[in-house]
Each structure stands twice: as structure tokens, then as C-alpha cells.
Amino acid sequence: MRRIAWISIKSFGLAAIVLAMGAGLAAAQTPAKPAGKSQNACINCHQNLPGKLGDPVKKFKKDVHAQKGITCVGCHGGDQTSSNFAVIKSKENGFIGRPKVTDIPELCSKCHSHLEYMRKFSPSIDVGQLSSYKTSVHGKLLAKGDTKVATCASCHGSHGILPASNAASSVYPPNVSETCSKCHSDTNYMKGYKIPTSQHNDYLQSIHAELLMVKRDLSAPTCNDCHGNHGAFPPTVNSVSGMCGQCHVNNRNLFDKSPHKKAFGALRLPECAVCHSNHKVLRASDKMVGDTPPSVCVSCHAKGSKQLQTAANIRAQLEGLKNVIGQANNKLESAEHLGMEVSEAKFNMKEARSALIKVRTEIHTFSFPDVKKKTEEGKKVAEGALQAALAAIQEFHGRRRWVIFPIVLTIFLAGALYLKLREIEGNDRNRG
């Protein structure tokens, strides 16, 4: 099969060489054309070839390697300067043709593990990809000869490799989960590995995916932020909080001091993921805590247990604070629309809202006194603002008492003027 293909290329290639030489001559006559291009024998031929043989030329134009001046021979070997087909593709010149899957990591690392070389492009560049890869599940399986696993090219592509900062790149953060899912969501392909294939689907429903893909917040995590990119691995049950804690520092710290840390460790439960799930990390809601579903507490703790009572108490604190904040906001708005001065109280409400956010973090202590303490801080501020709003509304209506003043003055003056008129007109009538 391979041989047949090789022959057909050969015969077709001959015609192409003739054509390319003509083109080369034409190019030589026009000095404006860069000399380097006409000297790339690979491109001269392949650009005129159909389908799979011509595509790499088109794709490679945009490739980051091409931008940095690396040509086909950088990876495929051979001699691009020759016009002799045999010389171009001779083994003596290091021609390797299509690299074997098992060779790819080593091939890329020829340059990418070479700090002196790579420093030319970026002084702070990472050269540890290969050693990371070797520790990964992909790398270990590849070493055992499994060629179905991902190598460099599986994620980065081959001829159209773009840097991760390029939005068109397969490893641009919002595109990463799609790239991984090409294999990991394919049930047929993944058969035999005994791992689920629902990760991508789950991830797409998560708050992380919403932030990253919809809001384009590149700081939100995708697959590689928890699993590592080159050293891809599944986090172990007791390293989960370490993963999440990269960003959710406070939650991690509180959790680590909480009784759950030890209990989950003993039960070999995956920490944060127990309540928040691993891939399908939904936007956290206050309903997650409490003694009735959809609270997550009920999935472990027995009904009527002391722990569920604590959960219910924590929830009550949370709802209480939200309630006061809601009331205060409402009344502040009414007072403002009445034209009363409440900007100070409105300003203070920022603190109350901050307190609510802190309380939500404090839940991860799973300690009622701690949550209550934070809640009280917020409640105090919100209640102060509420009182200020109510006082302002009362003051608005309280102004009504002054109405007595114009009433009395008006009656007095109008009455006096009327008497005056009566007197004058009475006099007139008497005299008239």
C-alpha cells in the first residue's frame, strides 16, 4: 500500500519537478522575489500537489515556525536547496518523511528542550515540555507503545501550529476543551481506557466554561489548568483543594482547617468536588447549604443529624443577611426617589454586600459560630443603612407637619384683608 502511494507520487512528482524548475527559472529572472522561497524545493513541488500532499504548504504559511524562519526540513529533514529529487529526500541528508507517532515528542524536543536555542525566541520560554510529558498518562502510555494517546501534534497540530495566545489556535484557552474532547468525548476511541467521556459536556455547563467561553475571561480555568498541559494527569483525591485553591485561595484555606478535610481524606473523597462536582462546576448558590434538597449536605449527612442542623442554621444566617440587605436596598431606593439624602447609607451598603460575599466564603469553615460572626458584621451595616433609609422616609412625611404654618398665615391674612375690604366698602356704601 505504501509502495503504491510512493510510486504514484514519484511519477506525479517528476512532472511537478519539471514545472517547478520552470517556475524557478522564472523566479530567477524577477529579482524582486525573495531568493529563499525559490530555493525551498519542498514547497516548489508540494504547493502544486493536490489534497494531503499540497495542504501542508498552505497551512504552514501561517505556522509560528514558518514565521520564525523554520522550514520543512527543520522537522522532516532532507535538503531543500537541491534540485535533485533523490538528494532532497535522501536518508543521508536526514530525510525522515512523515515522523512516526512515537517519535514526535522527541522530534519536537530537539529544539523545544534546548534552552540556548529557544532563548533566541523568548528569554523566559519553558523548555520542560518533554520531561513533563513523560510523566503524563499520555507520555507513559506512549512509552509502552500505545499510539492512540496524544502527542504534541494531537493538540498543537502539525503544519498550522499557532501560539496559544492566538485565538485561532487549538490551544487558545477557550478552544482547549474542544481540542481535548476530540479524543476524550469519543466513546469509540476511548473504549478500553475505562474513563468516562462526559467531561467536555459537563465542563460546558460549568461556571468556568461560561466565564471562559462566553465572557472570554481567559483567567477562568479549562482542562489544562487542573490537569496540567504537558504533564496531564488526573488530580488525586487529596490534591483537589490544591487545584481549586490556585484561584479560590480563601475557600481552600478555610476548607483545609475544617473538619471535612480530615473526614474526606479518610473516606478518600475528592474534597471540593464532593459538593461542587469536578467538571460540571455549577455557579454556586446559597441553596447548596441547608437541611433539605437541593442542599448538597443531605447527600452525606443523615436527616435530623446535628450536622444538618448546623447546615440549616448557616443557611438561616445567610438568608437573614440577604433579607436585611434586600430590605435596606429597597428602602434606600424609595427614599432616594422621594428626593431624600441617603447617599451615605447607600455608600455603606457596599460594605454589607462585601460582608455577604465573605459569609459565602466563610461557609467553607462549616462552623456556625464563624459564619454567624461574619453575618453579624454585615447585618450591622445593612441594618444601619435600613434605619437611615426609614428615617429619611419618615422625615419626608414628617415635613407635612409644617403645613400648619401656611394654613394659619393664609387664614389670618385672607381674613384680615376681607375685613379690610368690608370696612372700606361698608364706608363707601354708607357714604354713597
Binding site: 428626593g339 403645613v403 385672607a414
Partner: protein, 365 residues
Amino acid sequence: MRKLNTEESSSAKTDSTPSWLTSRVPLAQVLEFLSHKTVPWHRGSHWYLFGGIALLLFCVQVATGIMLMFYYVPTTDAAYESVLLISAKVPFGWLIRSVHSWSANLMILALFIHMFSVFFMRAYRAPRELIWVSGFLLLVLAMTFGFSGYLLPFTKLSYFATKIGTDLTKLVPVIGEEMRLFLLGAETISGPTITRFFALHVAILPPIFVLFLIAHLVLIQLLGMSEPMGTKESRSIPFFPNFVLRESIVWVLVLGLLAVLSVYIPWEVGEKADPLAPAPAGIRPEWFFTFLSQSLKYIPATVLGIEGEALGVYAIGLGGLIFFLVPFWDRWADRGIRHWVVTVFGILAVIYLVTMTSLAYFKPY
């Protein structure tokens, strides 16, 4: 006795050398004239007091308006905030603003009452046609004051009411759209609209209003107040002090009412306008435009192939024009006849205005 007084004063004047002030401000003749001036007094005279009430309220408007200008900022970013500031932080700001709003509304009410009383008494008849004309135009100007002032706090309600109001200009044939653009200064209600409406409200309308007001008052002075038709012998009272005293009582009462309303039912600031938000339910213009907006709700989208809204506006405009021109077609009044056609027309107008306005408040949909 009055006669005696004037003789005394005139003899005193001839005797003494003129003081520093009177020789420089020769008001003696004016005072002399005023002391002799009389005004007719009859059963309908009380209705005339409403003209005086409107005059007083206009003065209140000028005074409070100028005061508000000390703090008001006519920009989309600061208009609402500056009104909040006036209401919330400036001492007595809430009161001044409230007085300005109440006084505006009471003034238009007084003008309407004044106009209809003049209409039904046929006081517009020759030679007083131009007093009627200038008076009617004063009402139109006052309503324009109201319309332009309504937008200035830039609240949700005022924003949408103004939007609907300015959209009606497109019904003007040929130049309608250009008129709307000229009025708004932009495609939509935005920064340029506020500055334009502000200029209209505080710089363009006031001098025009004052000119018409002077014309109105001078004509009344020159032609005298109208007397009821068919009265053979008329009773009159001295302008000073009798008429002035009567008017003073009314003015004191109106000022009192204004203060009571402003203190007891102060105007709220409301919610800030958000041009991107959908129109809230229950938007309506100021009450003196509700007859128009309410009428338009009852007209079908198209009538005989003509756009219903246009038809409605033209019909109401035509009615208003006929009303405006009453001194020129009511030839009966010149001959001293109270013709039923005029009376019925006036009654229908009142019924129409009252019905539509109350519907707008009690059964808007």
C-alpha cells in the same frame, strides 16, 4: 370721600415743590390715573380673578425657576443628580422645587378656567379679539413651558413622555421629521435634547411669554375690561383699593394653597431615565396633555386609509383652531346675541377635555 382725597392730594402737589424722587420718577400722573381707574363689577367678575391668579403664579414660576437654575445642570449625566441634589441636600431645595412644579400646574389650570370663563361670557367679542388671541397664545406658551420643563429632571417618566410627545411632530406634513430632529438636536433624546429643552424653557419661552403678557395687559388697560352682554347700566368699583384688595385676598389664598400643596404633597424625584430600558407601564405626559394622549388611544390604527394617529392629531388641532378663532366667527356676539351654537361648542369642549383627562387617570387602558 375719595373725590375729596384726590383733590387734597392734587392741591398738595401743586403747593409743595416736587421732591427729589418725584421729579426724577414722575409717577404722579400714573398714581393719579390709578386712583381714578375703575373696573366693572358684576356677577361674572369673580371669574376674571383667575387671570390675576395665573399672573401671580407666573411670577412665582420666574422666581423659583431662577433659583433652581443656581443648581440645575442640563446634561444627561448630571441632570437627574442635580435635581436629587436640590431635593436632598440644598436647604429648602425640596420646597422650592415642589413650589415650582405645583405652581406650574396650578397656573395652567388657572389659565384654562380663565379661558373658558372668557369664552362663555363672550368677552372676546369686538373690539377685544386680540386680547383673546394673545391670551390663547399665552396658554399655548404655558403648555410648551410645561412640556419642555417636564424633561429636565431626566426621570424615567419624563424621558418616555417626552419621547412620545416629540414623536408626534412627525405628523406635521413634509417637515415633520426635520422638526423632530431640530427639537431633539439628535436622533434620540440625549445630551443635545436636554440643552435644547433647557434653552427653550429658560431663555426662549420666558421673553416671548412676557411680550404676549404685556400685550395682553396693555390691551385690557386700553380697551377696559369687558362687561357682560346686555347689561344696560353697569356697576363699577374703584381699581384701588377695592379691586386690588379683592385680588389680594385671592392671591393670599392661592399662595397659601400653593404652600400647603408643596409641603403636604411634595413632588418626588422619581427614577433616573434609562434610555435603554423598555418603556415602563403607566407613562403619561403632564396632566394637561393627557386629553391628547388619551384620545389617541381610542383611534384605530387606520381610518379610511389615513393613519389614525395623524387623523386624531389633525382633528384635535382643527377643533383647537376653531376654538382659537371664535372671536372671528361668532358674529352673533357682536350683535349682543348669546347664540346656542357657541355655547354648545364650548360645553362640548369642556366635556371632552374633562372626560379624556379623567379617563387618563382613572381608566387609562
